[in-house]
Amino acid sequence: MRVRRRAAVVAALTRPTVRSLPWRLLAGGWSLGVVVAAVPALFSLDLPAAVLANVVRAAALCGAVGTAFVLDDPARHTTGAVPVPRPLRQALRVAVVGLAGAVWWAAVLGVVRAGADAESWAALPAGALTVEAGALSGLALALAGAAVRFSAVRLPGPAVAAALPALPVAAAVFLPYEHALFVPPGDPRWADAHTLWAGILAATLAVWAGCGPEPRRRVRAVPGRGGGVPQRGGGR
């Protein structure tokens, strides 16, 4: 009974959710990702698989920057009281963006494939790279979810997007050689690195899910931080 009611709510919410998502920002990130992925094809560079993997990663990071804005809800101070719980609303947003993102990701891989010679493409493990892309987007989602959960901010997107490129860079700079995340295909560390990637994906999704429910007490707004009182304007 409850499940059927939920299904009806989801069905009713889908259209408004689709309309309220920040599509322009998402499209911006995705287009840059496709452009990056298309560079080898456009300039007919014969890149080895190691470089192609990094091209795919850069494209994935573009998509993740877009994902940072998915939980932006300018109306959050008025939707706190509605009977549809926040996890459901957030999950619906993520599902819609996830579907569109999957299409985009397929396009990115297709464009990379078009620009790679058969040998390099064969050496490129697309599935493992998809896990990496998922983990990067999951990271954005977890950060945005935590920002929403632990502050009264309505639009966590700008701050999360700003912090997001720093994390992979920090991982690349600081992680020791044996535990590197960004390893070239064919490297003996590849399997270990991707266990770690899968762990990151699971952990970030768990953090996002854990931050979903509304807190029992009202989160106090930090004065002057664009939180508490809804303001005029309030762009991204």
């Binding site: 804005f69 720093a166 860079v169 005029r232």
Partner: protein, 508 residues
Amino acid sequence: MTALTRTPVTAPAPPSARDGLRAVLALARVEARRLLLHPLVLVSLAGYLALLLWPGGEPEDAYPVLQDVDRETQFGQLLLGLAVMIAANLGVLRSHRRGTDGSFAVLVVQPWRRTCAHVLSVLPTVLVGALIVAGQFTAEALKPGAVGHGSVFELVTGPLLILLLAVLGVLLGRLIRSSFVAPLAAVAVIAAAFVFVADSSSPAWLRGLAPVLFDEGARPLPSGLLGRPAGWHALYLLALAVLAAAGAVRASGGRTRAVRATALTALGAVVAAVVLQGTAPSDAVREAREVATRDPAEVQDCVRRGPTTYCAFPEFTPWVDEWARVTDRVRSLAGGPGAEQALTVRQKVNALDGPSGTGEPSPAAPGEVTASTAWGGERELEFAASVARGLVVGHERYAGVFCDARGVLTVWLAIRATRDGEALFEKTGEGYNSPGVIQAPVTAVALRDRELTVVERLLALPRERVGRAVRAHWAELSAAGTTTDRAATLLGVTAPAETAADREWMCA
């Protein structure tokens, strides 16, 4: 009270240029403080400093070559610059995000002056970057093993990268009113600088356009042979920053003649700098590279120490003492004729392809051994192998591995003459994934499994005992025909049987 009436208001007198400047400077001061204390910039600075101050590192780091160290400062500054770009962009868009753009419209400071203030506000952060570079380079230059000369242009490239990226952040904030753009731009810069690296095989104009002139060669070169257009590249970055600043001011309504003139001058400078970078290296540098590669004796300084003469490029002469320490150690282990044999240690480079070249120098003339342009750790072991080969074999031409007593003797001498030789020998084998190989200059010294086992058994014995045997049987051990079995017997160990893998090697 709120009724709108059309009462004529006396407009405030337009601010004089001096008042405008004061307002700009005041705003710049506030924004500069906010930018420097922005969480993203603070965290990046902390991470950057932690990485620089972290103890440890390779033994090679104790012997920095300053003409290479100066450009190693650039990538860290580029990453710091990305954080500053995003923070500067968020600063410009703060009024947009907080919905206070409308309130600013009533202020007497025009938007373009506010943009000027934002551009000026990045300078203290650039200065912090410059201080880090200065500290980093000074620390390297003060190391007792440091050789060579740094270039001011290479050193200012890092801070100029921060300046360019920060001003780019301001420009993006004025062009596109969304804080979404700066993180994407950061990803694009990462892709341009780290993924699609324009290396030495790229066309010159493309190399010049990239944020960092990337050169990663096998060994350092004397500074006169680098031929990197560092000065033109620094001008390119500076001009690009000025162009972006002028663009940002123009985009926010500052359409004065001065702005247009600045923008046009900067554009001219950018084009000129890109073109001039393409002309490097000059003919003089090419000629110097040719001479240094083919006939290094012409440009080298030589010092005589006992029976050994050390010839080095003038910048590298401080290392002669280090070479002499290892050489004397090899000679004392060899004893007898090996200790007295005249030998010239000559430093050699393969500079024909410039700082990105990976080629090895040509084999030394008879009676000479080759030293490279790097020192410390494994490089010490490699040099010791080069000297030992000079004493045992007498030439550096590659004719196959030494499947006899000479291979055992050379490697044993090299390991015993080097500080921590055994650990370095193991490490160099793991590093290249080929145990038993020392990457000595010109041609590697390699051992088959059989000879490697003999060497390992010798290392397990007391050094004095093996040393006595080596000195007693030097002539036989260094002769071409002496077998591994015979060498093992002479030195007091047994050699294992030849394996199938051993038989696949080409023996000298």
